[in-house]
């Protein structure tokens, strides 16, 4: 297990470095002068030179590369707009994004897992069709439409919930619902498929033959086996929620990392864009790594197959 953990961590390292290099190269992808993009065509030559110097764009690429990484590592990479270290801005917003993503995940699990179980146990009946319809609709509804529609109904018409901002549970409800719907759709399908597969396993027939009651067979044997893929999809989707949060946070003015990225883009604060993108990408990689390790811990077959 320790060897597998080490191997998995080592495999993540090149991906993390590659992602960082790609984020560094963003600023060099612009056809033309990035300083002109940031300041506009009307900026004076002195202002341009000052910004170019501040961003170290007057240095050779290799030096810029080193400065970018040392800036990241020491927390000295500075936002142009806020005149604050990028790391400080990013960490200040990380909590709000995690709060939103966790709430979306909790909502999705609470709704989707029971729906998936009912769909599997009532295969081919109306509950199953309802679950299929919900899943297709859930993955197709754009969150940038669902959010405004929820605001329209629950905030503007019924006046039950606040339109935007971060506060208590009431503030969290609509953004979490907007963000969690697509995950709920996928999770309900995965729960249904995993449970159907688990229900067809021979050891369940054996359990029934031993005289175990049907609820006990389902709860104790089938669900336990179905749990591993469900856990995986929850972990992987949690990573996906982080990118979905960019739009959700914009709609609901939720002060998270996604909102910070959009603000940085609007103010053309490229170091902050780089920092925010990297923070989201790194969190995504780490969440996927943790999911992978949890998966291995829960299902020993994975590491045995890996060894073979």
């Amino acid at each position: 297990m320790r060897l597998y953990l080490l191997k998995r961590l080592l495999l993540t390292l090149p991906v993390l470095i590659g992602a960082s290099v790609l984020v560094f190269l963003f600023i060099h992808l612009i056809p033309g002068d990035p300083v002109e993009v940031m300041l506009g065509e009307s900026a004076s030559a002195a202002d341009r030179a000052a910004l170019r110097h501040q961003l170290h764009l007057d240095e050779p690429l290799s030096v810029q590369f080193g400065l970018f990484f040392s800036g990241l590592a020491t927390g000295k990479l500075e936002s142009i707009f806020y005149h604050e270290p990028v790391s400080r801005k990013v960490f200040a917003r990380l909590g709000a994004t995690f709060e939103l993503a966790l709430a979306a995940m909790a909502l999705a699990c609470l709704f989707a897992i029971p729906l998936g179980i009912v769909a599997a146990l009532r295969r081919g009946r109306w509950a199953d069709s309802l679950s299929t319809g919900f899943a297709l609709l859930g993955v197709s509804i754009p969150n940038f439409w669902l959010g405004p529609m929820l605001i329209l109904v629950f905030s503007l018409k019924l006046e039950w919930l606040p339109v935007s901002g971060r506060g208590g549970l009431f503030h969290l409800a609509l953004p979490a619902l907007t963000l969690g719907l697509a995950m709920a759709a996928l999770l309900s399908r995965m729960t249904r498929a995993s449970l159907l597969e688990a229900l067809s396993e021979p050891h369940l027939t054996a359990a029934r033959a031993r005289g175990l009651s049907e609820p006990r067979v389902i709860l104790k044997h089938a669900l336990r086996n179905a749990g591993v893929p469900i856990l995986t999809i929850i972990g992987l989707q949690f990573g996906a929620l982080l990118s979905g949060a960019i739009i959700t946070e914009t709609i609901f003015a939720w002060p998270g990392l996604g909102r910070l990225l959009i603000e940085a883009i609007q103010t053309r604060d490229f170091p902050l864009v780089q920092g925010s993108v990297l923070a989201i990408a790194l969190t995504y990689v780490m969440v996927n790594l943790i999911t992978d390790l949890l998966y291995t811990a829960v299902d020993p077959r994975v590491r045995l197959e890996g060894r073979a």
């Binding site: 590659g18 197709s140 940038f144 439409w145 864009v273 993108v277 990408a281």
Partner: protein, 268 residues
Amino acid sequence: MSRAGLILGALVALLLVATALLAPALAPYSPKQQALCDGLHGPSAQHWLGQDKHGRDVLSRLIYGARVSAIVGLATVTISALIGILVGSLSGYFGGALDQLFMRVVDVLQAFPGILLAIALAAVLGPSLENVILALSILGWVGYARLVRGQVLVEREKDYVQAARALGASPGRIVLRHLLVNVSAPVIVQATFGMAAAILAEASLSFLGLGAQNLPSWGAMLNEGQSFLRTAPYLSIFPGLAVLVTVLGFNFLGDGLRDLYLTPRSRA
């Protein structure tokens, strides 16, 4: 269900392409024609879906918006599939260092969640239709490359490839004439889902102000509509429905094609 879904999805796809092609004939007004005195007028006999804050006809803008969606969807899928097929087939057929290099690039690109990289790229490249296509294609080829590589790895060991090799066929001929024909079905299915994803991503970028400028796009219409949610909710409802129906249609089509092309083979 899947046969009905396939037909429904095909109809939606046809409707999108026909609307995009025939937009000038179908739209009752020019999408840019302003009537500032009639700004934010709701649906009426003259303007079925109402007018936006500049008095522009929402229906006409929705019809022209289909053009942006169709162009971005088709261009992104074509460019992504071509690059992905090239990289995937080279990687799968030749293996070795080339395969390792390509797959590490794929790993890095897949380390970025969903639309994040597209947002970042569109932000640095600047908002335009071409840049949206470029940003989505830079990400899009990865899925095709992984798919084609996997398929080629399986197919290259089969007898017909060995026979072609024994007959002296060049690697290029084997890949082009034999392997690609046999991996085309999953690529077509992936391309159909890719259309849905590209249309959704374009609308997301436009919603964030990073899409095509001065062109009526469904995402940009939704963005504008959000400011008038209380007074003119129709500005948000209709463009969102257009995105929803289109994406749902392509997902139905993808599901149907997958069942039609791929499931019988896997059953066999």
